[in-house]
């Protein structure tokens, strides 16, 4: 209690002091006029509009002031406008802006920041620089993306790869500051942990901020151990700070191996900026010159960032080092003394410097030591799960799914349980199937959500097919309403007295929930009055469905007798779309209103206003009708998402893909809308010619997975928007619309024409189709052949099937007859 009081007191004292200071601060306070003047000059400004001063705000103002100096170096003016003195339109009038600071650039608002993300000088500097550099610093969140970036940078730029364990920290600031300085020289990439860290060999449980240098520019003249398509990388071993990062980058520029003709003692110690770096000397003989250089290069790669390597040519008369020594080194700051060594292997040098390294990052290495995993490679190849779904399920193995909200069906209770509900949703799963288990939790989530929204007539149930194998096999004994289940997970919808319906949708809670909610509605709904028909089109059958985009299909028939095909089609659309049926006079009236001839099927896709439905002729076969309906439901110029790609992909058309970035503001949004509209014009004005293409767009904010797709098409992240033509039926070529040309319908069409004419050259190729195993299998035969050479070999034909019976009779004590020993092949046994 005492302690609490003291703490509160201290806090109060502190905030009090801060308030004082803020009031008398020399922070540049702008008047409205100043503000507008600076704004129109196009300068970058980071401004906070002060309304009232609370302790929190004054803390912020202190930090803001500190950052003013730092940001000045980067050409950003920092200041505040006091709204209590005079009003700046918009920024002073809105209460909600109290906790927001703004960055202005080029005469307009560029970005806004919530005060909770810019709480101190480090976070202010890092966030502001981050915002300014956003086009230069790339984000990478999977290894595949990184690979694409590496490919793009190969031969051009080296890559600086940073991982910060949290944003707004000093480490984040260090990377941003360095990126500001070196941004044109190196490609800066921020990674977000996860798979990329794994690739880099970092144990995720020790999330220290780190930096790596990827040597993607080819260093001619040196043998580079480029065993794979990856750029060789060097990890920065010093703790991350602006200074250390700076010197690390400089060190990366140092020559890998320097050849000298002087004795090590007379070689100069490293000059600025490498004066803090140890030197390692190896010696070269004329006879083995190439070999020596190779060896030195190999060692230099391993010492990169730790020490500089010099190769001393012994034949030079200046070299006085006795022959017994084959290596030497000089540590920084420890006079100019050179220590001489006789090495048996290169590893000894590494040990020398690795020890240093160890001191620097104890935590890290300790952890690895404790685990006792020396054989890193073996471990990563066989000890870890390489399947992303299996790994996620395995990670989560501690939390067992709570099965209370679902009915567990067994061979014994199946029939009675299914008979109880108007809709039983059954998940067939296998415990050892990771996909089943991943989906099981989504399934349970849906069950809980249905229970919460009191949807009681839907029974959510599961069958463990590892246990109720005869039920899942639909064995004759049980007469169940489905075929044997051979794919897991499978979800069936069972309405009593109806054949089972397979759930065909994304195996996630959203898609399943939507499907269930739509399934509850009869399919088709019999619409008997005009009001019913109206509400069918306009209203949502259940509040839970409010958020979903609903497609509707209405059948219009003169007589009930004609509806068979439509009714069947409606049944298979159950869960996916709402279907309604109008007959007789009502149908005639409707047909007249929509000026269609009976019989007809009207399709109201969710993306179109309901006043303009598609009219389909009523086909005689349900299948044909379904095809027509499904085609009509497809958007002609869709925004591709992870969810909807499959339905468009299977059309087999070439993709004309527009990538747009995430909008920061209204202007951006308007720009994107205009782009999409322009694309629509492309489709419309291209007419028939465009039919072989699927024009579509990806919003990188909503579908971030599109980032790496674009990266892989273009070889690097091109400026947005970007337009790409790919998946041509004729080949694997990828064409990119010239990045700096405005996307205008006419020029896009021309470009397409040039592509067709073969006058455009492709910018890339789709990756190969074959997906060979990503990992080696463990070859038991090879191991057997090694460890027990003959055990796995076929016998040679000579040894006629003489059954060797190794059992020997050793029971000397009680052997009755001495001569019985050898021939006991026909030893008997009874049955």
């Amino acid at each position: 209690m005492m302690w609490m009081c003291v703490a509160v007191f201290l806090l109060w004292m502190r905030s009090g002091r801060c308030t004082d200071k803020a009031n008398t601060s020399d922070l540049i306070e702008y008047t409205a006029a100043d503000f507008y003047e600076k704004l129109h000059s196009g300068k970058m400004m980071f401004i906070y509009f002060e309304h009232q001063v609370s302790p929190t705000i004054s803390l912020f103002l202190v930090e803001l002031e500190k950052s003013a100096e730092a940001l000045q170096d980067y050409g950003v003016l920092v200041g505040k406008v006091n709204c209590n003195k005079e009003l700046v339109y918009k920024y002073c009038s809105e209460e909600r802006l109290l906790h927001t600071a703004f960055l202005f650039r080029g005469g307009k608002e560029f970005l806004s920041f919530g005060l909770d993300t810019i709480f101190d000088v480090n976070s202010i500097v890092s966030e502001v620089l981050f915002a300014i550099l956003r086009d230069e610093i790339k984000y990478v969140h999977t290894d595949a993306d990184l690979l694409a970036m590496e490919k793009a940078a190969r031969g051009k730029k080296d890559i600086v790869l940073g991982y910060v364990c949290s944003l707004g920290t000093q480490e984040h600031r260090s990377i941003m500051e360095t990126a500001y300085v070196y941004g044109s020289k190196y490609q800066f990439i921020l990674i977000t942990g996860g798979p990329v860290l794994k690739h880099l060999g970092v144990n995720e449980s020790s999330p220290l901020s780190r930096v790596w240098f990827l040597h993607c520019r080819v260093h001619s003249g040196f043998m580079i151990p480029m065993t794979s398509e990856r750029c060789p990388l060097t990890r920065m071993r010093k703790p991350l700070s602006t200074l250390s990062l700076h010197s690390f980058l400089q060190l990366m520029e140092a020559p890998l191996v320097t050849e000298v003709y002087d004795d090590p003692s007379s070689v100069q110690p490293p000059q600025f900026p490498y004066q803090q770096t140890p030197q390692v000397f190896l010696f070269s003989h004329p006879a083995t010159e190439h070999l020596d250089l190779d060896m030195a290069t190999t060692l230099a790669w391993r010492l990169r960032g730790l020490a500089l390597l010099l190769l001393v040519h012994r034949q030079s008369p200046a070299v006085k080092t006795p022959d017994e020594y084959n290596a030497a080194y000089r540590l920084p700051e420890k006079s100019l003394e050179v220590k001489y060594l006789t090495l048996n292997s290169l590893d000894e040098v590494l040990v020398l410097f690795a020890d240093q390294e160890k001191d620097e990052e104890e935590e890290d290495d300790d952890e690895e030591d404790n685990e006792g995993v020396d054989d890193d490679e073996e471990d990563s190849h066989f000890g870890k799960l390489d399947d992303e779904i299996a790994a996620a399920v395995f990670e989560n193995r501690g939390t067992l799914p709570d099965m209370d909200s679902v009915t567990q069906l067994t061979s014994d209770n199946f029939h009675s349980a299914v008979a109880q509900s108007s809709l039983t949703v059954v998940l067939f799963y296998l415990k050892w199937d990771a996909v089943s288990m991943a989906f099981l939790s989504s399934f349970i989530e849906v069950a809980e959500r249905l229970a919460d929204s009191e949807v009681n007539e839907v029974q959510m149930s599961v069958v463990d097919c590892g246990e109720w194998t005869d039920l899942c096999a639909a064995q004759p004994g049980s007469a169940v309403p489905f075929q044997p289940i051979t794919a897991f997970p499978s979800v069936l919808f069972l309405h009593p007295q109806h054949p089972a319906q397979h759930f065909r949708g994304m195996l996630g809670s959203e898609a399943l929930h939507r499907f269930i909610m739509i399934s509850r509605v009869a399919s088709p709904v019999l619409l008997s009055t005009l009001e019913e028909a109206q509400s069918f089109l306009l209203e949502v059958p259940h509040p839970e469905l409010a958020g979903y985009q609903l497609d509707r299909v209405v059948g219009l028939f003169e007589a009930q007798a004609q509806t068979a095909a439509f009714t069947e089609a409606a049944k298979s659309l159950r869960g996916e779309a709402l279907t309604g049926l109008l007959t007789d006079e009502l149908a005639e009236k409707w047909a007249a209103d929509h000026s269609v001839d009976l019989p007809a099927v009207l399709v109201f896709p969710s993306w179109r206003t309901h006043t303009y439905p598609f009219t389909l002729p009523a086909s005689s076969s349900a299948e044909e009708l379904l095809t027509h309906i499904n085609t009509a439901l497809l958007h002609p110029m869709p925004e591709l998402t992870v969810e909807n790609l499959p339905s468009f992909f299977l059309l087999g058309k070439a993709l004309l893909l527009l990538f747009v970035g995430e909008e920061e503001d209204k202007i951006g949004r308007r720009q994107n809308q205009a782009l999409v509209k322009e694309m629509r014009t492309v489709v419309e004005s291209g007419g028939e010619k465009m039919e072989r293409y699927l024009a579509c767009w990806i919003h990188l904010g909503r579908t971030p997975a599109g980032m790496s797709v674009l990266g892989s098409y273009a070889g690097s992240m091109p400026p947005l928007p970007a337009l790409v033509l790919t998946h041509l039926p004729s080949g694997d070529q990828i064409y990119q619309y010239p990045p700096n040309t405005p996307i205008v319908a006419s020029s896009v069409l021309h470009w397409l024409q040039r592509v067709e004419d073969g006058t455009e050259s492709p910018t890339g190729l789709l990756d190969e189709d074959s997906w060979p195993p990503a990992f080696e299998f463990y070859d038991f035969l090879k191991i057997m052949d090694m460890q027990e050479p003959d055990s796995a070999q076929q016998q040679t034909p000579k040894e006629e099937e003489e059954e060797v019976n190794e059992e020997e009779v050793n029971v000397k004590e009680h052997v009755v007859v001495e001569d019985m020993t050898n021939d006991n092949r026909h030893a008997h046994s009874e049955l």
Partner: protein, 681 residues
């Protein structure tokens, strides 16, 4: 009086009338597509499959009820086939792994546990169960038909078998399924064999052995069962046979001595008066000691039983005499001869042999090379060698896996009967071996399912195995094919092997002799799976079917020839092979190697990426995501991450524009956000 009795009688009467009507009706022809000889477990098992397939069949039985062997045997009336009722599992297939008495049928409750709940059930329960089986499935059995002669005739329509019964009635059969079992006591020819009592006729009353010295010839289960029953009464029990005792828990062969019968080993090793010895029975002589001046035959009635001596024929002067002189006794030559003291009784417990005598030379399968020729020699698909159309089922078919697997026992041959029926269906009715078509991405799960529950390959280890015919994006899964018949797979099953090759899934024991209860008996490291000692799954990958020659020259102790690639799934204490790292991932990598394709599962987002950057995404995405069945990252998992404080969702609330500085996709990837100071202090 039991009120149901009259109705039972009525039922029997009707049955009798009907069946006699039936008989008269068939008197003219008596032709069947299938004749099953014997209504024991194997005959009835085959009868069930024939009946289910609606084939024209008959089961002929000379006795008045099914399974009559079990009315007499085992003599001491306790079955040693385990009847495990409680397994903790509802999986009926799995439960059959631990139910050694039930026959296969599609009636889930037609199980042996209905007639007995004892772990080692009484022998009487077995015919009772078989009667139940016949009744509930309505199998066509003709009792009282004692077939004494079987001959084969070749006619224009093909080969037929003609069976003649005790009334000289003939039955003509296109296919003859011999399920007669083994019931002729096996004997060994040695001098004095007539002085020996047989297992089939000995007294089972222990009192009859009071204070007697007993020599038992044989060291199998019937010998030990006999020994065990008299242990408390007899003075000395010695057991003699050519080879030392083989313990079932060491050999994994249920025909070897089971622990349930092995009390005598205890008393032997703890130096009570019992003992085991080895000698070839052909070389022994059982004789009475010769009395001066008078010859007495063994059969002669006398108040006091004659003492019997174990002698060796090399010491005999008169090689045909039952009586021995003092000089002929082994003890005369070797003063510490272990069995120098005489016995009151010698009992022969040497098992049974197949009754070859009813087969005419035209229809007689040759004697097997193993099992001392007591069994008929068969092809790998259980057809008699040289007798096409004649198949041997049940215990008599044990020459295929003599002393290695379970084909001589109910829990094994119920599966071989099914296999034989499947190939009959293909050979005579063009119905290919039943198979399940699977998407290749489902294969791994399906293999794990079989490995975790299948009872056929588990009981008939190294004999029956699942065959997976690879077809690229899908595969055909055939269950329980006889492994030795693999070279003939196409002709026997009606399924062709494609260019993608095939995988065979087998359950196997390790072949090394180890200390079975010692410390290093179990292997747990999956990379050492090939050294597993206990039953474990092994997968063989072949690009093409192995040839007959390759099958013959297969590596020593292997059930199959050397494949292109092999995969052992490490033995598991619970026999549940579902561990992600030790079992599943190595299996997946093996399958990937066989199929030369990536079989990993991917989230929808990854599929999205690979679909757009490649012409076709990996197989899993093709068969899932592109069929609209993508897997979004699990929201519950995300929930967990969120709970752990790794996301900043909550902080977003109310900061509207601010979060646009953080690209949204950072969040699920696991970047943690610094919270800084709270705004509402």
């Amino acid at each position: 009086m039991d009120p149901s009795l009259p109705s039972v009688i009525l039922f029997i009467l009707i049955g009798y009338v009907l069946s006699s009507f039936d008989n008269r009706h068939h008197n003219v022809t008596r032709r069947y597509d299938y004749c099953v000889l014997g209504a024991g477990p194997a005959g009835l098992q085959m009868g069930y499959f024939l009946s289910k397939a609606r084939r024209n069949y008959v089961i002929l039985e000379r006795n008045s009820g099914p399974g009559s062997f079990f009315n007499k045997y085992p003599r001491h009336r306790k079955l040693i086939s385990i009847n495990k009722i409680y397994t903790g599992r509802g999986n009926r297939e799995f439960n059959l792994r631990h139910d050694w008495n039930s026959l296969l049928s599609d009636k889930p409750d037609l199980l042996f546990k209905r007639v007995s709940d004892e772990f080692y059930p009484p022998a009487d329960a077995f015919p009772q169960y078989l009667s139940l089986f016949v009744r509930e499935l309505g199998l066509r059995v003709q009792y009282g038909v004692d077939v004494g002669r079987i001959r084969a005739v070749q006619s224009a329509t093909g080969r037929h078998y003609i069976l003649t019964d005790q009334h000289a009635s003939d039955y003509t059969c296109s296919v003859l399924l011999v399920a007669t079992g083994l019931w002729v006591p096996h004997t060994v020819d040695f001098v004095g064999a007539d002085l020996v009592e047989g297992y089939e006729s000995i007294s089972t009353n222990p009192q009859d052995y009071k204070d007697q010295a007993v020599l038992i010839l044989g060291k199998g289960n019937s010998a030990f069962e006999t020994a065990q029953s008299i242990l408390g009464r007899a003075s000395r029990v010695h057991m003699l046979s050519s080879s030392p005792v083989r313990l079932a828990w060491q050999t994994h062969y249920v025909g070897d001595l089971r622990a349930v019968n092995n009390e005598l080993i205890d008393t032997y090793q703890l130096k009570s008066l019992d003992g085991l010895a080895e000698a070839r029975l052909e070389k022994i002589v059982i004789a009475q000691q010769k009395e001066e001046g008078e010859r007495r035959l063994a059969g002669k009635k006398k108040e006091k039983r004659k003492q019997l001596y174990l002698m060796l024929n090399k010491y005999m002067h008169n090689r045909n005499s039952f009586d021995a002189t003092q000089e002929e006794l082994p003890g005369h030559h070797i003063d510490n001869f272990p069995m120098r003291k005489p016995y009151d009784r010698v009992i022969r417990c040497l098992g049974f042999r197949f009754n070859f005598s009813i087969f005419d030379s035209s229809a007689c399968p040759p004697n097997s090379e193993n099992a001392k020729g007591r069994l008929p020699a068969l092809t790998p698909w259980y057809e008699g060698k040289n007798t096409p159309g004649l198949f041997v089922l049940g215990t008599a078919s044990h020459s295929r896996d003599y002393r290695s697997s379970a084909g001589g026992f109910v829990h094994g041959f119920r599966y071989t009967a099914r296999a034989v029926h499947r190939l009959l269906e293909h050979r005579y009715h063009r119905n290919p071996w039943p198979s399940t078509q699977l998407l290749t991405t489902q294969l791994q799960s399906w293999i794990l399912k079989r490995v975790d529950e299948a009872s056929g390959p588990y009981q008939m280890f190294e004999m029956l195995g699942d065959v997976i015919l690879l077809r690229g994006s899908h595969c055909e899964y055939l269950e329980e094919f006889p492994l030795q018949a693999l070279p003939q797979l196409s002709s026997l099953s009606g399924h062709e092997v494609s260019m993608h090759g095939l995988i065979v899934l087998v359950m196997q024991y390790g072949k090394k002799k180890i200390d079975y209860l010692g410390r290093s008996r179990a292997e747990t490291e999956w990379t050492n799976a090939w050294k597993s000692n206990f039953l474990h799954p092994v997968l063989y990958y072949y690009k093409t079917l192995p040839s007959v020659e390759e099958m013959k020259l297969r590596p020593n102790g292997w059930p199959l020839p050397r494949p292109q690639a092999i995969h052992h799934i490490v033995e598991d204490f619970l026999t549940e092979w579902d561990a992600p790292i030790s079992h599943i991932q190595p299996l997946r990598r093996f399958l990937e190697h066989c199929l030369q394709t990536d079989l990993r599962a991917f989230y929808a987002e990854s599929c999205f990426r690979s679909s757009l950057t490649h012409r076709m995404p990996p197989l899993f995405c093709q068969q899932g995501y592109l069929k609209q069945q993508g897997i979004p990252r699990n929201s519950q998992l995300r929930q967990r991450v969120h709970d752990a404080g790794l996301t900043h969702t909550k902080q977003d609330v109310g900061t509207s524009n601010a979060d646009s500085t953080f690209p949204n996709y950072l969040v699920p990837a696991g970047a943690s956000m610094s919270s800084g100071l709270k705004l509402d202090l």
